[in-house]
């Protein structure tokens, strides 16, 4: 099991933070373009899922899988979006994302008095805590790609 990368978007689609760990293939476009493309796709999937669902969708879009990776999606009531790419065998990613939101984002970004809401996160403390959190998670595991 392994973790590739993480995007955090705010409700307007701005990329608040990006981090990567075991990503071997780059997209070949700039970070901004890649973020726009990712956000656009997620936006479409979200509306697609809510329209196509035969039941009343409770949680909406949660994740998708290809044969090489899985994209996990967590949206908070405030519209913050956590997008984590892992390999296909990763389990309990939803819980991991929830923990990431509660223990890392809320603690080190929301409670940082120097952070202005709506701006890109530059706090080194947040970055190091995030890195530590991901590396300690059971999903991070050993690389076997």
């Amino acid at each position: 099991m392994t973790i590739f990368n993480l995007y955090i978007f705010d409700k307007c689609g701005t990329l608040m933070h990006y981090a990567e760990w075991n990503r071997t293939k780059k997209s070949g476009i700039t970070r901004e373009e890649e973020a726009k493309l990712t956000y656009g796709m997620l936006f479409s999937i979200k509306s697609f899922v809510s329209k196509i669902s035969p039941y009343d969708p409770r949680e909406g879009f949660l994740y998708y899988k290809t044969n090489r990776y899985a994209l996990h999606y967590l949206e908070t009531p405030s519209g913050l979006k956590f997008v984590l790419n892992t390999d296909t065998t990763a389990i309990n990613v939803k819980e991991l994302l929830q923990q990431l939101y509660a223990k890392i984002w809320v603690e080190y970004v929301v409670r940082d008095p120097l952070w202005m809401p709506g701006t890109v996160v530059t706090s080194e403390l947040f970055q190091s805590k995030l890195d530590e959190f991901i590396k300690q998670s059971p999903i991070f595991g050993i690389r076997n790609i």
Partner: protein, 152 residues
């Protein structure tokens, strides 16, 4: 948990509010807010405490009970030269724990300790000790408060 975040956010906003309007980075307003808060607060906190024997007892109370009630922890170190100088050290000061430990952020540190300087000064002032309280931040999130008792 919820009451802690409320206090933290309110404190951060008070800091912004007090410093946005004046250009000279004047921390006096912030210190005064702390002073009046401390002055009133100590009244409530000491209602069931026996009278203090001497100055050191008072300082010990500030470092243990007072600190625990406000910052949910005790101070890490209290030192004195026995001539009215006290140094209170907190290795992980509440208002600094969420800030990155970089040199750029260090410039902002004084803003977040001014209120506490006033708070301590107000508290011991109501206990009959006039003092000057200053703070020193060398590396985030550690902070040292220097309490100098004014004898006259």
């Amino acid at each position: 948990m919820s009451e802690e975040i409320l206090f933290d956010c309110l404190h951060a906003e008070i800091v912004n509010y007090c410093l946005d309007s004046n250009k000279e980075n004047d921390l006096a307003t912030l210190e005064y807010i702390g002073f009046t808060t401390g002055y009133r607060l100590i009244e409530r906190l000491t209602r069931e405490v026996a009278r203090f024997k001497d100055e050191l007892e008072t300082m010990k109370f500030i470092c243990t009970d007072f600190w625990t009630l406000i910052y949910k922890k005790q101070v890490d170190n209290l030192r004195t030269n026995n001539h009215g100088m006290y140094v209170v050290q907190d290795k992980s000061f509440r208002f600094l724990t969420r800030i990155s430990p970089g040199t750029k952020q260090l410039e902002h540190a004084p803003k977040f300790v001014a209120f506490t300087c006033g708070l301590v000064r107000g508290a011991i002032s109501n206990l009959g000790i006039n003092s000057t309280v200053t703070a020193e931040v060398q590396s985030i999130p550690a902070c040292k408060f220097h309490i100098e008792v004014n004898r006259s």
